[in-house]
Amino acid sequence: MAAANLNTIRATIEQLLANEFNSLFDSIPSIDAIVSIDDSNDPGLPTVYPVVFNNVPYAPTPNSTWVQCQLNFGNNNYLTMGGTTGVSNSIIGIILVNIFTPKGAGAGANFTIGKRVRDVYNRSKVSGVIFDAPTGPEVMAPPSPEGYFQTQVRLTFETFEDL
């Protein structure tokens, strides 16, 4: 087998979140973009929100609802003995999902989105990526950027690299 493709892992993880909040789209050619429509006039569709990923420019509308996903690869560890072939490494990363909802409107809407975020990843295994139990949604004070009610859901994930 080959070394892990971290960009493929990133895309896999981000696609899961994009699918949850951008259900109008069957597939997203490039996750390196914001793709969402909040169509409140169509009750037949699940509520969708803008999802912003790493290094994507986005200017949120004041008092709007949006989701920010930050993915980082962290510790890489040896798993097994041997040389450079027939051995395995562990790749561990963290997903931070910030949820922004209008200020002064209570926490319910925000926590509802938080549940959807948790449900996307909670103890699941997708394409060889194992997601741990999420933490949150935890209220972030002060919010960043200001002007919203912000919570954060975060979780670690692990995948194995077979060389």
């Binding site: 798993l79 097994t80 041997g82 040389g83 027939g86 741990d132």
Partner: protein, 138 residues
């Protein structure tokens, strides 16, 4: 000066004692070589005297569980549960990746601990003892 790191090591094993094959997903190994001590102190002596006696070895190999089957790794982790064991299994414990620095001996697996812990990789710990000569090519 050359130094070595643990990931350069490896383990080979063959329960039939013919041709040792690599144990995949080995996480660690350790071995202790012990020598019996026989006291030969003379009556009236001030200081004790000792000579070496019989030599034996024992140790541990940690393997990550991978659900492997029909290979030597599978045999290795199940060896402790064999009904009869003639103690003829061959072991090779390597210290580097060149394949020349190793400890070779015949022995048997005496125990295996299978464990699963939430959030952690599943590990099988096998303990062994030697039977006969221990060859240190280190």
């Amino acid at each position: 000066m050359a130094f070595f790191r643990g990931e350069q090591g490896s383990v080979k094993f063959d329960d039939a004692g013919v041709s040792a094959a690599a144990i995949t997903s080995t996480r660690s190994w350790s071995m202790t070589v012990e020598k019996d001590v026989l006291e030969t102190t003379s009556l009236g002596a001030t200081y004790k005297a000792n000579v070496g006696g019989l030599i034996a070895g024992s140790g541990t190999v940690e393997v990550l569980y991978t659900a492997s089957s029909s290979d030597e790794t599978n045999v290795f982790i199940e060896a402790a549960n064999t009904a009869t064991d003639a103690g003829i299994a061959s072991f090779e414990l390597f210290l580097d990746t060149t394949g020349t620095k190793k400890i070779t001996f015949v022995g048997l697996i005496t125990s295996a601990e299978y464990s699963a812990t939430v959030g952690e990789l599943e590990v099988i710990t096998c303990n062994f003892v030697t039977s006969g000569a221990i060859i240190l090519s280190i």
